[in-house]
Amino acid sequence: MTYLKLILGAATAIALTACVSEPLPTPEALVETVTEPEMIVDVHKGDFAEIQQFVTPGGVSVWLVSEPSIPILSLEMAWRGGETSDPEGLEGLSDLVVYNMNEGAGDLDSLAFQTRMEELNMSFGCSTGNDWTSCSSSMLTENATDAMDLIATAFAAPRFDDGPFERFQRENLIGIKQRETSPNWLARTAMANARYPDHPYARQTSVESISALTPALAREQMRKLMVKDRLLVTAVGAVTPEDLALMIDKAVEGLPDASEIEAVADISLPAAPADPILVDLPQPQSLVSFSAPGLKRNDPDFFTAYVLNYTVGGGGFESRLMKTLRVEKGLTYGIYTGLSNSDHLDSWSGGGQTKNESAGEFLTGIHDELNQFVADGVTPEELDNAKAYLTGSYALGFDSNAKIADQMMGVRQEELGIGYFDTRNAKISAVTLDDVNRVAKDYLSPDKFTFVIVGEPEGIE
C-alpha cells in the first residue's frame, strides 16, 4: 500500500525528539494547503516496516523507517563503485580512502576528530569492497545535528594527513605478512586464482602497491567513489523525514555531483578442475572450501535455489551436510553452504573444517551428499520444512534499527524494489518440488565445484 504525503521542507525545524511516525490519514486535504511542496514522501506501509521514501531537496534518495522508541539513529550510505576501480598497481587505494574518512577533517586532526566522535557518543566509519563503497553511522538523537555536522566536515574537507596515511601503510604491510598463514585468506585466494585469475576481483594488495600509494591519490579517488548522484541512503531511528533530509543535504554538500566509474567485465567461469587444489598450512585441521557457478539475483530460479540451499547446507542442523557429516559421523563442528551474489559473479559455495586425518573421508562425504541431491533431489517434507523456516523466520531480521537499515540497503543495492519485503515470502512459498529437484540436477553436481583444501590433509587422492 503506497500513498503520498507532502511536506513543507523549509518550514520544518530540527526537533528530533518529536518524531512523527504515523502517516497523515488524509493526504489530499494537505495537498490543497501546499503551494510549493519541497519534498514528496512516498510512504510504503509494508508487512515488516513502514518505509518513507523521498528525495531530499539536495537530490539524495533516502529510505527511512521512523522508530521513536529508542533515542538513536542508524544511518547507512552506499555508492556503487569500489576496489575494482583501483588503478593497476595501486591496489589498496580505495581502502586508503575509507580508512581516512574518520582520521581528520577541517580543523580537526585525527586525534581531534576521534575525540569529537567520543564526545558526541557517535560512530562513523566507511568501508569498501569490490563493487561498493559504504559509510555507516550511529548517533544519539540528542546529538544528531552535531554528529551530522561532523560527517559533513569529513565529506567536505577530509585532511588525508601524513600521520594516518603512514599508519595505514604500516598496518597493511603487516597484514600482507599475516594473511600468508590465514586459512581463510589462503582458501579465498586459491579459489579466486583457479576461477577468475585475470578479473579485477582477483587482484590483491602487495608490498609494491601499498608502497606506491600517496595521500594525493587517495584524495582524487575519494572524489571518484563518493558522489551525490550515486548515493543511496537508508536510515532507521527517532527522526522525521524532513529533519533527516536537512541533515543529509548538509552532510553531503561538499561531495562532487557525479563521476565516471569504469565498467567491469562479468566473469565467465571455466570448468572446475577435476582434483582439489591443496594449500599446505601446518595446523591440526583442514579447511575444505568449495564453489560452483550460482544464480543471479534476478534469475527466475533464484528463489528455488535459495530454498534448496536450506536443505543442502544453509539450514544449520536441518541441512543434510550437517546431519551426515556432523551429527552422524562426528567429522566436523560445522559445515555450511550459501548462495552469494556480486555485480559480476554469482556463486554457490560452502565450507567446513575437519581434522587432517579425516580430510579424505570429509571430502568424499561432501561429494556423496551432492551426488544424492542430483540423483534424488529433496523429499516433500524437506521442502516443506525449508519453506516453513525461511518464511517463518523472516521477521527476525527486522527487530532492530541496525538490522532494518541494513536490510533496506541490501534491497536498494540489489534493486529489488520497495515492495520486496512484502513479496519475498510468497516467492518462497511458490517454489515447487519439481523446480527444486530440477535446480539440484542443474547446479549441484560435484564436478561443477572447485575444491580447495588448506591444511595438512590426509587421504586425498
Binding site: L111, E118, V327, N385, L396
Partner: protein, 451 residues
C-alpha cells in the same frame, strides 16, 4: 552454524551492561514461579518477535576433577532426544516454526535460546520445559553421545588448536587461575573430553537441570502477564528436584605471587605480539571498583584516543597496536591485560620496556577530568545502543542474574558509570597494574624457519 559460542576463552568477557535508568517504558518485570524458577520479562514492542532463553546456574566451574568439558558437551547433548521428542527433533520443530536456536556454555552458566515470531512463544516454552525434565541420553557405545564427543574435539581444534593466539591464551589463563575452578578452559582438555561417558552426562543432568536452578528470560513483544501464564502452563508443572543448594565452587582468585613468562612459538605466526596478564577484578565481587577499572582502562589503552595508543602507535611509532582491557563479567576475578604488537624492527623486549614506561608515566601523572568524562559517557552510551538488540538485552539480563546480580544492577549501570570519579578510575588502574603486583608475560612469536 555454531551451536555454542564458548570455547570459553574469548566470548565471555564481551557482554557489556546496557540499559538506561531514566526510561521506564521498557522496564523489565521479574517474578518467581512456585517451583523456584526465576522469570525476567524485558519488553521491546518494535517488532512482533521474542527472544526466549533458559539460563541454568551451572557451568564449567561445577565440573568434577577429571571431567573437564562436561558442562559444554552436555549442552550439545541437550539437543539430542527426550521422552517425547525423537533424535534431533527439537531443532526440527523450532526451525519448522520459523525459529532460530542455539546455546552456549561459560564457566559460570549454560544458556539455551530460541528466537521466534511472538505466536510461537508458548511452543518454545513447551519444548524447553520438555528437555528440562525428560532428556534421554543414548548409551550406545557407538551412538550419538560418542559422535558428539568427536564433534566437540573438532570444535576444540577449530577454536583453539588451529589458532596460535588461542593456544597461548589457554596456557596463560590456566596459570593465572591455577588451583581455581576456572583453570581449565570451558571446552575442556582433549583427553578428558574423550573419556566422558553417557553416565557422566545423565548424572550432571539429574543434579543441575531443574526449575529452581534455572532462570527464564523473555525479551520482545510480550508482557509479564502473558509470560507468567505461559510459563505456569509449562515450566510451572515441573517439580523442583532439591538436588542443588545454590552454592557454587566460586572462590576469590588469589593474586599472582610471582612473575612468569610464557612464550609460544608457532610456524603460523608472522607478526609477534606481547601481553601482560595481571590479576584483575570482577563485577560480581567488586562492582564499583570494576566499573572504575573499565573507565580507567578505557582512558589508558581503550582505543585510538587513549594515552598508550597516542604515545606508542602515533608518536613513538614502536607499536602497530596497543590495548588495555579487563575481563570483569565472570563471577570470579579475571585478568586485566596490557597487550601490544611491534612495528617491524622493534623487539618484544624493547616493546615491553616502551609500553611499561608509558604506563608508569601515565599512572604517575594521572588522568584529566575531560578524558575520564569521555570514557564514562561512552560506556553509558553503549548501554543505550545495546537496547537496539533484543538478544543482547536478553543476554545481559540472563547473565547478570545467573551470576547472582540483580535487575537493579543493570538499570543503575549508566548512572553508576557516570558517577565514577577521576580519582576512582585512576586508583583502580594503579591498583591493578601496581609495582607490587605480579604478572604473566605472554609472547607470541614466529617459530624458527616459519612455513
Amino acid at each position: 552454524m555454531k551451536r555454542i559460542i564458548t570455547g570459553g576463552l574469548l566470548a565471555v568477557a564481551l557482554l557489556c551492561p546496557g540499559a538506561m535508568a531514566d526510561d521506564a517504558a521498557w522496564a523489565p518485570e521479574t517474578f518467581t514461579l512456585d517451583n523456584g524458577m526465576e522469570v525476567v520479562v524485558v519488553p521491546d514492542h518494535r517488532a512482533p518477535v521474542v527472544t526466549h532463553m533458559v539460563w541454568y546456574k551451572v557451568g564449567a566451574v561445577d565440573e568434577d576433577e577429571g571431567k573437564s568439558g562436561l558442562a559444554h558437551l552436555f549442552e550439545h547433548v541437550m539437543f539430542k532426544e527426550t521422552e517425547n521428542l525423537g533424535p534431533e527433533e527439537f531443532t526440527t520443530i523450532v526451525q519448522r516454526n520459523g525459529g532460530q536456536l542455539n546455546a552456549f556454555t561459560s564457566w559460570d552458566y549454560t544458556a539455551y535460546f530460541e528466537r521466534v515470531a511472538k505466536p510461537q512463544l508458548g511452543k518454545m516454552m513447551e519444548l524447553e520445559a520438555e528437555r528440562m525434565v525428560n532428556l534421554k541420553i543414548n548409551d550406545d557405545p557407538e551412538g550419538p553421545f560418542i559422535s558428539e564427543r568427536d564433534v566437540v574435539k573438532e570444535e576444540r581444534r577449530q577454536r583453539i588448536e588451529n589458532n596460535p593466539g588461542a593456544i597461548l591464551q589457554e596456557q596463560v589463563l590456566s596459570m593465572l587461575w591455577k588451583g581455581h575452578p576456572y583453570e581449565i578452559t570451558v571446552i575442556g582438555e582433549m583427553d578428558e573430553v574423550a573419556a566422558l561417558t553417557p553416565e557422566d552426562g545423565m548424572a550432571f543432568y539429574e543434579k543441575y537441570y531443574s526449575p529452581e536452578n534455572a532462570i527464564l528470560v523473555v525479551a520482545g513483544d510480550v508482557g509479564a502477564d502473558e509470560v507468567r501464564m505461559l510459563a505456569e502452563e509449562t515450566y510451572g508443572k515441573i517439580a523442583p528436584t532439591g538436588t542443588v543448594d545454590g552454592t557454587r565452587k566460586w572462590a576469590p582468585v588469589p593474586l599472582l605471587t610471582e612473575n612468569a613468562l610464557i612464550v609460544h612459538a608457532d610456524p603460523k605466526v608472522r607478526q609477534p605480539s606481547w601481553s601482560r596478564y595481571y590479576s584483575g577484578l570482577s563485577q560480581s565481587r567488586q562492582r564499583r571498583e570494576s566499573y572504575a577499572l573499565d573507565v580507567g582502562l578505557s582512558v589508558l589503552g581503550g582505543g585510538m584516543t587513549s594515552r598508550l595508543y597516542q604515545a606508542l602507535v602515533e608518536d613513538e611509532q614502536v607499536a602497530i597496536d596497543v590495548n588495555t582491557y579487563a575481563w570483569t563479567t565472570l563471577h570470579d576475578e579475571g585478568p586485566a591485560i596490557i597487550s601490544a604488537s611491534p612495528v617491524d624492527g622493534v623487539s618484544l623486549d624493547d616493546l615491553d620496556t616502551a609500553v611499561m614506561a608509558e604506563v608508569r608515566k601515565v599512572l604517575a601523572e594521572g588522568f584529566t577530568d575531560a578524558e575520564v568524562e569521555r570514557a564514562r559517557n561512552s560506556l553509558a552510551a553503549e548501554a543505550i545502543y545495546g537496547r537496539d538488540s533484543q538478544s543482547s538485552m536478553a543476554n545481559l539480563f540472563g547473565s547478570t542474574l545467573a551470576l547472582g546480580g540483580t535487575v537493579d544492577d543493570i538499570l543503575n549501570y549508566p548512572d553508576e558509570i557516570r558517577s565514577i570519579t577521576t580519582d576512582e578510575a585512576l586508583a583502580a588502574v594503579r591498583n591493578v597494574f601496581g609495582e607490587d603486583r605480579h604478572y604473566i608475560e605472554a609472547e607470541l612469536v614466529p617459530a624458527e624457519g616459519g612455513v
